[in-house]
C-alpha cells in the first residue's frame, strides 16, 4: 500500500470497517437482543402468564397430544419448562432435512393441555437476524461469516492504528470539535471491552468451522463420512421408522433417570423421540445448557419401547472437541445465569456503539473535507450517509416496531408470525427510503437535510420505546407496576429496558438538535462576515 505500515493498516481499518460496518451493526444489535430471546418471547405471548409446574400428568398429556396430532411424524421434540420459559413447547417436523416444515404448539406443563397463544416469531427473530440476516440460510450465514472475519481484521488494524491505546482510553473531549469527540467515543467504546470483541468475533466464525473451514474434515473423513456423526457431531442417529407398531414407554421415569444421570443441577432441556409408536422408537433426553461454560449438549438415549438406556453422550475429556464446546459456550452465553446475560447485553450495546461511532466518524471526516455545501460531493458519500442513517437510527425504529406489531396485529390472523417479520422489514425499508430521500433530494443545505432525517428517526425511536410499556399494559400484558409487584422480572425487564432506550434516544436527539442549531448560528455569522463564501464546516480544524 501507499505509505507506511501503520498507514496501510489504517486504510484497511477504515474500509473493512465501513463496508462491513453496516452489516456488523445489524449483527451486533440482533445478537445483543438475542441474549434475551426467551424473555422477549415471553413478553410477546401475554396469554402465557400463568401456567402450573411440570407434573407426570403434564408429560403424559404431552405424549397424548403428539400421538393425537402427529401419529406418523418421523420424530417429535418438546422442551420442558425452565427458569426462562414456563411452558412445554412441542415441535414436529414433517420430514428430515432443512426444507421440512415445522409445526409447533405450547402446552401447560401441569396438564399437557394446549395453551392458545398468539403465533409469534418472538425473540428468535433477533437470533435469526443475528446469524443469517434473514438472507436465506446459506448466503446469509456466509455473509455473516465474512463480516466476522472483517471484524477481526478491523479489530487488529484498529489496535495497530491506535498505538496510544491506553492514553486514548482516558481521553474524551465531548466539548471539543465534533470530529474529535466522535473519535474519542469510538476509541472508548472500542477499547473498553476489546477482549470481548475479539472473543465474540472469533468464537462466532469458529462455531461454523464445519461450514466455513471444512478442509480438515474433508481430508480426514472423505472416505468415511458417516464416521463424522459418531466421532464428532455425536448425536444419536435413529434410522428409518420400522413398519411394526409398538406402544411408547412412559416418559416421566425416563426424564427422572436422565436428570439423575446427567447431574449438574441445571435440569432437563428437551426430549427428542425418534420413530414414535414404532418398534425402533428411541428417546433422547438432553441436559439444559448452562450446567457449565462449555455448550456440551450431553444427553442420555433410551430404547423407546423398553425404556432401557442404549447410549450416554457425556462430555468428559478436555480435548479439541471440548475446546470447540467452550468456544460455543462463550458465544451463546448460556452459562452463569442472568449476571452473564446482562454482561453480554452491555458488551453488545458497547459494540453496537463502537460500530455506530466508527460509521459516523467516516462521514463526519468526509463532510469536513467536502465542506458543508456538498452538492458536488460524490455519489458514494451520500449513499454512506443514507446507509448510516437507515442502519444506526432505522434499525432501532424497525426493531421497536416489531414489538408494537406483535401487539397490534390480530392474535388470530393467518400466517401471523410471518406477518410480524414482514412488518419489520417493510418498516425498515421505509426508513431506508426516507434516508435516501434526505441524502439525495436537491437541497441548499445537504447537512441540514441529513441532520433532520437523523432527528426525525430518533424522535420516532424515542416515541416507540417510551410508548411500549403503555402499549403492553393496554394490550393484555402484565403492566409494569403489576410485574414488579408480582416479582415477574422477565416481563418488567422488557418494559424497563424500553424506557431506558427511550431516554437514551431522547438524549441523542437533543445532542443532534443542539449541534445543528449551534452550526446554524455559526453559519449565519460566517455568512455575515463574508457573504457568498462557502460556509464553514461544522467542525473546526
Amino acid at each position: 500500500m501507499k505509505g507506511t505500515f501503520t498507514q496501510s493498516m489504517a486504510w484497511l481499518h477504515t474500509w473493512s470497517g465501513l463496508i462491513f460496518g453496516w452489516v456488523l451493526f445489524i449483527i451486533f444489535v440482533g445478537g445483543t437482543l438475542a441474549v434475551f430471546d426467551k424473555e422477549i418471547t415471553g413478553w410477546m405471548e401475554p396469554e402465557l402468564s400463568h401456567v402450573g409446574p411440570l407434573t407426570d400428568e403434564g408429560l403424559a398429556g404431552t405424549i397424548a397430544f403428539l400421538s393425537r396430532t402427529a401419529p406418523d411424524a418421523p420424530s417429535w421434540r418438546f422442551s420442558l419448562p425452565g427458569p426462562r420459559d414456563p411452558a412445554i413447547r412441542t415441535s414436529v417436523r414433517s420430514g428430515k432435512g432443512r426444507g421440512a416444515a415445522e409445526t409447533t404448539a405450547t402446552l401447560d406443563p401441569s396438564t399437557g393441555d394446549v395453551i392458545e397463544t398468539r403465533k409469534t416469531t418472538g425473540g428468535s427473530f433477533f437470533f435469526t437476524l443475528h446469524y443469517s440476516l434473514y438472507a436465506g440460510s446459506m448466503p446469509g450465514i456466509w455473509l455473516v461469516g465474512a463480516a466476522g472475519m472483517a471484524m477481526l481484521a478491523a479489530l487488529v488494524t484498529g489496535v495497530i492504528t491506535h498505538r496510544r491505546i491506553f492514553k486514548d482510553f482516558f481521553t474524551f473531549r465531548p466539548t471539543s470539535s465534533s470530529q474529535r469527540s466522535w473519535l474519542d467515543a469510538h476509541n472508548v467504546t472500542g477499547v473498553l471491552v476489546l477482549p470481548f470483541y475479539f472473543m465474540i468475533a472469533f468464537t462466532g466464525v469458529v462455531i461454523f468451522y464445519a461450514t466455513f473451514m471444512p478442509s480438515g474434515l474433508y481430508a480426514l473423513y472423505a472416505k468415511d463420512p458417516a464416521a463424522y456423526f459418531t466421532e464428532i457431531a455425536r448425536f444419536s442417529r435413529s434410522g428409518e421408522p420400522a413398519k411394526e407398531k409398538a406402544p411408547l414407554t412412559a416418559i416421566a421415569p425416563l426424564v427422572r433417570a436422565a436428570e439423575k444421570d446427567l447431574g449438574g443441577g441445571s435440569g432437563i432441556w428437551f426430549v427428542q423421540i425418534a420413530n414414535p409408536g414404532r418398534t425402533n422408537a428411541q428417546v433422547a433426553i438432553y441436559q439444559r445448557d448452562g450446567a457449565r461454560l462449555a455448550l456440551t449438549r450431553d444427553h442420555i438415549v433410551f430404547n423407546g419401547v423398553t425404556g432401557a438406556v442404549t447410549d450416554r453422550i457425556i462430555t468428559e475429556k478436555p480435548d479439541a472437541i471440548y475446546v470447540y464446546k467452550v468456544m460455543s459456550g462463550l458465544h451463546f452465553a448460556q452459562f452463569g445465569g442472568y449476571t452473564v446475560r446482562w454482561l453480554y447485553f452491555i458488551c453488545g450495546v458497547a459494540g453496537s456503539a463502537m460500530i455506530a461511532t466508527g460509521l459516523v466518524l467516516f462521514t463526519v471526516k468526509r463532510r469536513r473535507k467536502q465542506g458543508a455545501k456538498d452538492d458536488g460531493s460524490p455519489f458514494f458519500f451520500r449513499l454512506a450517509e443514507a446507509l448510516n442513517m437507515a442502519s444506526i437510527a432505522g434499525l432501532p425504529v424497525a426493531s421497536l416496531a416489531y414489538f408494537w406489531v406483535n401487539r397490534l396485529v390480530p392474535a388470530r390472523l393467518a400466517e401471523r408470525s410471518e406477518w410480524e417479520v414482514r412488518a419489520f422489514f417493510a418498516i425498515w425499508l421505509l426508513m431506508l427510503a426516507y434516508a435516501l430521500l434526505r441524502a439525495f433530494l436537491p437541497t441548499d443545505d445537504r447537512e441540514k437535510s441529513i441532520m433532520r432525517g437523523w432527528i426525525g428517526m430518533f424522535s420516532l425511536a424515542a416515541f416507540l420505546s417510551l410508548g411500549l410499556p403503555i402499549l403492553n399494559a393496554l394490550s393484555g400484558g402484565e403492566n409494569l407496576a403489576e410485574a414488579i409487584g408480582g416479582n415477574n422480572w422477565q416481563m418488567a425487564s422488557v418494559d424497563i429496558t424500553a424506557l431506558v432506550c427511550g431516554i437514551v434516544f431522547l438524549i441523542i436527539r437533543g445532542h443532534l438538535r443542539s449541534g445543528s442549531t449551534h452550526r446554524d448560528s455559526r453559519q449565519k455569522k460566517s455568512k455575515q462576515k463574508s457573504p457568498g463564501s462557502t460556509s464553514a464546516p461544522s467542525v473546526a480544524g
Binding site: 500500500m1 496501510s8 469458529v206 480426514l220 466421532e231 479439541a320
Partner: protein, 98 residues
C-alpha cells in the same frame, strides 16, 4: 486524462488486493487447514476440529499481510507460494496415510 488513467490504475490495484485478501487468503487457509488436520498427531476427530478452528488465524494473518506488502502482484505471488506449499504438504500427507 493522465490523472484519470492513473486513478483507474490505482483502483484496479486496490481491487486486485481485495480479491487477493478474500479469495487468495481463503485458498491458503483452506489448504493450510487440511495440511494441519493431517499432520496433527492426535485422534482423527480432534485433529479435524482443532485444525478447523485454528484455520481462521492463517486467514486473518493473510488478509493483514496482503495489505501490508508493497504491491498487489507481490501479494498474489506470496499467497500463491504458501497455498501451493500447503496443498502439496496436505496431498503428500494424505497419500502417506492411505
Amino acid at each position: 486524462m493522465k490523472q484519470r488513467s492513473s486513478r483507474i490504475r490505482e483502483a484496479s490495484a486496490i481491487a486486485s488486493r481485495v480479491l487477493a485478501a478474500i479469495i487468495g487468503g481463503y485458498a491458503f487457509a483452506f489448504a493450510f487447514t487440511a495440511a494441519l488436520a493431517l499432520a496433527l498427531p492426535v485422534t482423527r476427530a480432534n485433529a479435524a476440529v482443532a485444525a478447523g478452528m485454528f484455520g481462521f488465524i492463517p486467514y486473518l494473518l493473510a488478509i493483514l499481510w496482503v495489505f501490508s506488502v508493497r504491491s498487489a502482484t507481490r501479494a498474489w505471488a506470496g499467497l500463491f507460494t504458501v497455498t501451493l506449499t500447503s496443498a502439496a504438504l496436505a496431498a503428500s500427507l494424505y497419500f502417506l496415510k492411505s
